[in-house]
Symmetry: C2
Subunit: 245 residues, 2 copies
């Protein structure tokens, strides 16, 4: 039931074909595989995006799927999600939030896999971001109608969690450059929430959170009156620290 991971990290999601073969010869040892799926959000062109990979399962040809992998026997569940993120994006020290565990018997065509979903927010334009295969692509959330496995449901669940958390916690930190205008921040919130927000009320609300400090710099390269730049006072939420209430 244990699957060589070095093989898997460069391929798409889980490869249970060999495990399924083992199952028939050693049924008493085959129980349930444990995996993590990472919903890696990015932000670009005023759209919330998610990093997907083309499914290499016949059952799901032409569909995309989330990035996931089996959890290693000597690896914490949280650490597995962090490893997937690192292996896929080269990013370290990024906020990861556990969302829900999906455990329907038939959710994976090759065998029984229980998968815990995490979401993460990364800066698409970060110089540290290193997408290590051509198979990975950013997809606008709005354009996604169908994914492999139950990944659409996982995605929807994570989007909803993200929406619930952005007003209470400065999770969007990683989606923006270090310095940004309030307008940019508002556009980000609008993209995540899928609504438009009143500008004055938004600024008041954000000001009350006390998350930002205003810089003595103006945005540049815009064709209108430039706004003041801001930055987050605190470091981005830390790896796996999660959200404290």
């Amino acid at each position: 039931m244990y699957i060589e991971h070095s093989v898997m990290t460069m391929t798409n999601h889980l490869n249970l074909k060999s495990a399924a073969a083992e199952k028939s010869s050693h049924p008493e040892y085959f129980n349930i595989a444990v995996s993590v799926d990472c919903v890696i959000f990015g932000y670009e062109g005023k759209e919330l995006k998610v990093l997907l990979i083309k499914s290499d399962f016949e059952e799901f040809s032409d569909l995309y799927s989330l990035l996931g992998d089996l959890v290693k026997p000597d690896e914490d569940l949280d650490a597995a999600s962090y490893r997937v993120l690192r292996e896929r994006t080269g990013l370290d020290d990024v906020f990861l939030q556990q969302v829900h565990t999906f455990g329907a018997v038939d959710r994976h065509p090759s065998g029984r896999v229980v998968s815990t979903a995490y979401y993460s927010l990364v800066n698409i334009n970060s110089h540290k971001l290193n997408i290590n295969t051509n198979d990975l692509h950013w997809h606008s959330i709005k354009s996604i109608k169908k994914l492999a496995f139950d990944h659409k449901k996982i995605l929807d669940t994570c989007v909803q969690m993200l929406q619930e958390q952005i007003m209470d916690h400065p999770v969007v930190h990683n989606l923006l450059p270090e310095k940004f205008s309030l307008r940019a921040l508002q556009e980000l919130y609008e993209a995540i929430l899928g609504t438009s927000l009143d500008r004055r009320n938004f600024r008041k609300k954000i000001a009350l959170k006390n998350w930002l400090s205003e810089l003595d710099e103006l945005e540049e390269g815009v064709t209108h009156r430039p706004g003041k730049l801001h930055k987050f006072k605190t470091k981005p939420l830390n790896l796996l620290k999660g959200i404290s209430k």
Copy 2:
């Protein structure tokens, strides 16, 4: 790696001793066991309680643990939590809410077990409730300092989730008899939240939810002015339907 469940249902939590023995002879097939842990809340004597079993692990002698079991290979994760609840309490059709999945490598002394926590609310005095062993006991939440495994952390997480949900969803339905006074409801909320509440404000708030209907009956057997009885308009939240927003 697959463990006979009929043996387990009457014993305490997981029994991985045999699995651990298998591990050394067939390391390549031993991956990770998947379990569920149920935090079954009850309410009695104005206290929030939880159903616990005495741990039969040497490592945790004299400690109590939550009710859990391994998930069967052909059983949905949610169904496993439902089965544990049914096997332990005889109760059917009860609200269950997934809360979090705990996956630290060292959380179980006998081997690698990833466990998904659920909470549930049951009526301690229900005639349907049938606690099928003498090893199960209700413990006041406030009195619990330490549990086996990481179960104290699981319990705390579930209590917190319950506290967050009771004002938005009529989850406490199952903790009360069919007809109850507003005072009884308030005492229940106070027990769950661990605070005292202003009576007039509480009644206003509950009235706004529109969850209750007032009956033409008064409470009986009290030594003071009796209050009007109320009941929930809707059926209790359903099995595994979860909370919809």
